[in-house]
């Protein structure tokens, strides 16, 4: 695997020299008619790293994720993913006519799909809802099921498209913890698309800010997890990220 060559916009060099690259994007461009949503974007995702991709709406973050998920056939440029990819979407997108366990095993090509599904559901704390219809789940339960469906595939790259944005604040905190737990247990590379700066600060190794179709800012967070919101490193980084997003930080104007 190629070692990482820092791009022109990289602000901080990441420390690990021998990195295995799971996904690599070179000069990716995506246009919708006249509008250029991704503009010659470069990105490398190392094995096991947790990346948060921040950006205002319309900055192209979901477009990048869709390209990585193989859902966009019209993006131009280089894109290669080593290994398997799984996606959890903003809306859980469970298949409503399949019970929860059947949603988990859908398309799962392993010898014992049922056992794997049970294990995955246990891991996200949803064992007792295995036989339920998706439409009877709460928002948090549905999102857990969606995570279980992604994780049961043991992906090398897990793509999370704002999966927590529709959850209430309390549920979101528990799901954050769950995601970290699952990530440390399975160690997939994670690309989390979000517009929530705090979420990015709490979860990610590396935070990227997407603007006008390019990566406009990159920060590496080395603080130990679990992180506290008021950690001094995070506080200063929050200000930096917010201004990179074009938002003036709280308290100043």
């Amino acid at each position: 695997m190629a070692t990482r060559v820092p791009g022109p916009l990289t602000l901080q060099e990441t420390p690990a020299p021998e990195r295995q690259v799971v996904a690599s994007v070179q000069g990716l461009t995506r246009r919708f008619g006249e509008r250029t949503v991704l503009d010659r974007l470069d990105l490398e995702v190392a094995r096991g790293e947790f990346i948060a991709l921040l950006g205002r709406s319309g900055s192209g973050k979901s477009t990048l994720l869709r390209a990585l998920a193989g859902l966009d056939g019209e993006a131009e440029g280089g894109l290669s993913v080593t290994g398997s990819v799984a996606v959890a979407f903003q809306e859980p997108r469970l298949v409503p006519w399949k019970r929860v366990h059947a949603n988990i095993t859908l398309g799962l090509a392993v010898p014992n799909p049922k056992e794997n599904a049970d294990a995955a559901l246990a891991e996200v704390g949803l064992s007792e809802r295995a036989g339920a219809w998706p439409l009877t789940l709460s928002g948090g339960e549905a999102q857990r099921a969606s995570l279980a469906r992604a994780l049961v595939r043991e992906p090398d790259l897990l793509l999370l498209d704002e999966p927590f944005s529709a959850l209430d604040a309390l549920t979101r905190i528990t799901i954050h913890q769950l995601v970290l737990q699952l990530w440390s247990a399975h160690r997939p590379s994670v690309l989390l698309v979000t517009h929530d700066v705090d979420e990015a600060l709490l979860l990610a190794d590396r935070v990227l800010v997407l603007d006008a179709g390019r990566i406009a800012h990159e920060s590496v967070i080395s603080a130990e997890r679990p992180r506290h919101r008021d950690h001094p490193d995070l506080t200063s980084l929050r200000t930096t990220l917010l201004s990179a997003l074009g938002v003036s930080p709280e308290g100043t104007s």
Partner: protein
């Protein structure tokens, strides 16, 4: 009149439980029986006093007696068997072609271009107007009757199944792709189950028109069946037999409708539980 009122109890029994309960508790279902019963009583009084001549409409009591007699002599069961057979064969043929064509045009653009324009053109034809042609082509035997039913059945099923397939949530198709499902699996796990609710709507519509088509076909030329029984009764001014025939038609229609609703409840549990919450 009495025919229309029959619908109320059937619906109350086969609808999802909570709704029926709500109606029973809130609406006091028996109150809905007052006006139809009053109507039947008024009808009986009018007939008994000679206000309503039997050659126009027989008395309810006469109709009931005739019904018992027709059942005992075997006339009615035989007629029902003949008509039911026509509907079943016609329905099976129509459903098969309607759903089959919907699959062809729903699942591929090429199929749509080939099938849909023809179906849309044929749909515009008044199919009862085809009867003279059918008689010329197929004579006056069973074939034109069964074909008319088949034709009537195929369109609602085609249109609804096609719309159902095309209406499947594109987001779920994306999920299927990210889960590594191939085209055949996509159709099996996402497209067909997703189209099922709409197909069942088509099924109910098509069963409704199936009976209608049968009634029309049997009026034209028949030597057996319910339509024949009714036409024969007209010759002898037997309004009681005519009304019995009509009641049987509507009862059979309600019965098949109830069957589809049962099927819906079985096949769409994932929706019903949601609705019942």
């Amino acid at each position: 009149m009495a025919v229309l009122e029959l619908e109320t109890p059937v619906q109350a029994e086969t609808r999802p439980a909570p709704r029926a309960q709500r109606r029973r508790l809130g609406g006091k279902a028996w109150q809905r029986w007052i006006s139809p019963l009053a109507l039947v009583v008024a009808w009986q009084v009018a007939s008994s006093t000679g206000l309503l001549p039997t050659r126009l409409l027989a008395a309810p009591s006469t109709i009931a007696a005739t019904a018992v007699e027709l059942i005992q002599t075997g006339t009615l069961p035989t007629a029902i068997a003949v008509s039911l057979q026509r509907v079943l064969i016609g329905f099976a043929a129509g459903a098969l072609s309607g759903v089959g064509l919907a699959l062809i045009s729903g699942l591929s653009r090429k199929g749509e271009n080939a099938v849909d324009p023809i179906m849309q053109m044929l749909r515009a034809l008044p199919f009862f107007g085809l009867i003279p042609l059918f008689i010329l082509w197929f004579g006056i035997g069973e074939t034109p009757k069964v074909l008319l039913v088949a034709l009537a059945v195929s369109f609602p099923l085609y249109l609804n199944t096609f719309a159902g397939i095309r209406g499947v949530d594109g987001k779920l198709a994306e999920v299927a792709r990210t889960l590594g499902l191939g085209r055949a699996q996509l159709i099996r796990h996402i497209v067909l189950p997703g189209a099922l609710p709409q197909t069942l709507v088509g099924l109910r519509q098509s069963l409704g028109v199936a009976w209608l088509a049968l009634i029309v076909a049997e009026q034209v030329n028949a030597n057996a069946g319910l339509g024949y029984m009714i036409n024969d009764a007209r010759e002898f001014l037997r309004t009681d037999v005519i009304v019995v025939g009509l009641l049987v038609y509507s009862a059979l229609g309600l019965l098949t409708d109830a069957l589809v609703r049962l099927l819906e409840r079985r096949a769409l549990t994932w929706r019903r539980e949601f609705l019942a919450r």
